[in-house]
Point group: D2
Chain length 317, copies 4
């Protein structure tokens, strides 16, 4: 088991005389394999936040209306991670017709992951590889080979296609490109946001991190598209189709933001591991959908190794 201590400090100056609205996603998610041992939130304004939990993913959103003036927010948590671990070789891709319904949206293109434009490229580069975990890993390595990490090289308009063309970006951009390539092969993939652990200090101080979750077998597995962190040390805040869904803060009103401070520490002790690279596949999600009899029936007919090119969508006019 991994135990992480997190401390996040966010500072803002609300310059709007009407105050401003905030939507935060900075709470550690509640999942089958990620448990919040204790946590605290300090808001240096007399405001009552509204905290809601998305039942499907365990993502927590905090929303509040802040008054004019400084707003300081400190979130601290101790979190246990007892990953589901799987042998990579056992993790198969799931045909679209057998996916749990709630997973289906993650094979569709999204704002920053225009998989529909990468069908040929994905097929040419990865179409002949054996489906499964190893093919997803091949996609990750391809992204790492073609994109160079560099701070401040992208912005909130930058999409997977832009990154593919420009060959430079931050974790978020690596993540978007890897997701888009997976989806172009009909492999469900989503973004996860949270914190990393063990990142190369040369890439800057610890910060919020974006990484990839890919649906294989019966659940979502972790991949670090940028290769800058140690997946076993990722604490999950939220998941979504792409970065549009997992901003750690969305701000409505005239607000100046300070640089966020993020500190993560791995606790050592009896029964506790320190995050390290490992060859097993890791997941913080529970198994989903596979017990439905209909799906089970369908899965029986599935044969591996057949690349299906070019899903055709018939759209309403």
């Amino acid at each position: 088991m991994i135990r992480l201590e997190l401390r996040v400090e966010l500072t803002y100056d609300v310059q709007d005389s009407n105050g401003a609205d905030f939507v935060f996603n900075i709470h550690a998610a509640h999942t089958a394999h990620q448990t919040v041992v204790d946590e605290s939130l300090v808001l240096e304004q007399p405001v009552t936040p509204d905290i809601g939990t998305d039942s499907a993913t365990g993502t927590r959103f905090m929303r509040l209306h802040a008054n004019p003036g400084p707003l300081r927010l400190t979130y601290a948590a101790t979190v246990n991670l007892a990953h589901h671990r799987a042998e990579p070789d056992t993790l198969a891709e799931v045909p679209v017709r057998c996916l749990p319904l709630e997973v289906l949206p993650y094979v569709y293109p999204s704002r920053y992951c225009e998989s529909d434009r990468l069908l040929n490229l994905a097929f040419n580069e990865f179409g002949s590889l054996w489906p499964g975990y190893s093919r997803v890993l091949a996609i990750q390595h391809w992204v790492q080979k073609h994109v160079t990490f560099a701070s401040n090289t992208s912005n909130s308009n930058t999409s997977a296609v832009d990154t593919l063309i420009g060959q430079v970006g931050v974790c978020r951009d690596f993540t978007h490109l890897m997701i888009a390539l997976c989806r172009a092969l009909n492999i469900p993939a989503r973004i996860a946001s949270g914190t990393d652990y063990g990142a190369d200090p040369a890439l800057g101080p610890p910060a919020f991190h974006a990484y990839v979750e890919v649906y294989l077998g019966d659940r979502w597995y972790l991949f670090d598209a940028s290769g800058t962190g140690i997946p076993m040390g990722f604490m999950r805040f939220g998941t979504g189709r792409d970065a549009a869904d997992v901003a750690f803060a969305t701000i409505f009103g005239n607000v100046v933001a300070g640089a966020p401070s993020v500190q993560v520490r791995a606790i050592e002790g009896a029964g506790l591991e320190v995050p390290h690279h490992c060859r097993e596949a890791l997941s913080t999600a529970s198994a989903s959908g596979s017990t439905a009899s209909g799906h089970a029936a369908l899965v029986r007919g599935v044969t591996g190794g057949t690349a299906q090119r070019n899903p055709v969508r018939q759209l309403p006019d």
Copy 2:
């Protein structure tokens, strides 16, 4: 009450010797205000489809593996529509911090609705209008004024930005542009797919239709971005962030598709209305989220008429 009779015929030639997978969304959705009186499905191949229902929206997906050779599918349904109707003047925009959590994703940009790129334009054109139903209607009229309907002028790459630039498109393109402009103003908007009724025959034979649902007050209301149909006659199949989510068929494998045939008839009789244009706001969705005490508390502080410009998203690196 409206009663519609629908008959859809889809034909395919599966040319792949391994057969092909299909995901269909051609079943009338089950909603609080749309009831399926009876329905039938005929598949001219000995295949067992898997039909799943998305619990959040009532959308039904049918998935199947078809054998090589012709595949003909006939779906017929009789559907009752007893719309929720509301006085337009009473329908307010809901601040993002007060939206039901499940509505939140619909203010984010998506593949075909790049609202993040239209913040200035939306603010310049609509920022000074009084928030609420009438502002959404102003957006619809603006889209109709700037875009010309013309068949075969767009494809599955065409996004709201493309339509804004090119000023031409089909229903789907009008829909994407209207959605993007709403979201740029923080108004939740989504696409709905289904069938229309009463469309100008000059625009072609009856076909699958794409239209807009906007979240106002406590639920989703109908808008017809292209102005080609009569909203009261829309039968809903599915909803989603944009057309990527609501293809009526997604096909995996080497398949040639015939032209779909869609027939809709309004039944006349005692207690039955024929769809007609009306000034009231119409919804086929149930109220959502507003009873949660947290939200209610938050809503109390909301003041109308304040345009909040430029939501700023802080994304993970």
Copy 3:
């Protein structure tokens, strides 16, 4: 006559041990109506620049190889401007088949002016206006109404389409959008770079300026797309299809650039006017092409007021 004194200072630090190559376009152009009275160039490195003049436009390019270390360049010039002036009402648009050959490329789309994507928009907005100077002015005013000036809102990737969507930019972006709209109506338009005079100090210190030249009647006339300067005070360095052609410096090698310093002063005295806004059309170019008998013959058949929509290009496969 206008007499302007210009002083430009550019500073660089060449950090490449092999030195670096530079292509400058900071010399006042030699044209029929812009005369360089005197000029001086000081290069604080012992390098011999190569200065070439493009015979078609009078644009001068200076190229040099700089050594490692600081490079300071001071260019000063006194320039007389005796504009060709014309009555706006007399300036007609020229049908493409009658344009001088060398003007033809300026109706084609270019990197930052994707006129091919704006055909419908240009036709819808301006197609019914009477062709000529007043229509071009209507385009300029439309651009000014839809785009807001703001520093640091665009970069070297930003095109006319981006500016149309984003509705914000600097002079260069206004210029690109106005050019693209003109070309979409088959009106030749090009970018001019140089310096402005009389710009609102609120927009920042005097700097290099980008503006528009449109071919009407028998020559190129000045338009200030951003409306920030006084066209009579523009000194021309270069012209081109768009900003890709008129960088004031293009740098090859590892170089850090300082902020450029630009000073312009209008000399007062006998026979000298100070630049001011005027209703006449101004040009610093000479008449071109119209005397060719072939063209004259063709022009005779031209009728005004007919908007020709949608030029169709048949491209080689």
Copy 4:
């Protein structure tokens, strides 16, 4: 020497009651190495075309105003090609500061060749290769490896970036991508239009062809980006920055175009070669600029093998 006989037939139906304007570029260019032995033009309408020659490139444009009704145009020519041939190993890349001024625009990005967006990619893929003819050939082979030829997969909006992403296209698209990659490395490259010879009949009947000319040493050399033809058999009509400049017909007015017919035949006989693949570099252009003393002086300092990354352009605001 090569002798080619060309016969082109174009048919149109002018449906505009005012007639329509045409700009054609279907005449064989006059160059130092391409001689028109005889030619004929038959226009089946009583119209007088205006034929102009661009002095810099020898490209000929024919412009005319056609009356309503059918327009048939037959152009036939016999053309001699006595290529300038060079040993590939002797052809060096020319530093930008040493290029003839008229060549400079061909290192800039253009509408369909967004080289400015491909700097990193070009540097990563080709930056370490020895500059010169062999590096350009490596670019050509890379394009051929990554793009698949397929008819009707692109349109007049498709750019090099689109082709790089989509990995499919026609000759024009291969051409644009190869040009963009060359320019990203500061190698001047332009499009040439004309006819090919010896193309694989599987790719369709003989048609107009687009190919690449790259400036190496002291002139423009031929490359066939799509690898579908035999460069020795290319007859040149026009050259330009990209396809925007070399439409074989640009049509203003309501016109329906028939499919063009293109026939090319190589004449055999004494002293005549039939076009064939060869290892030498071929050019139909004359040497340019290299005799200017200034350039010669500059060229002396040039050292090969140094990749200069990321030209930085300082643009006017």
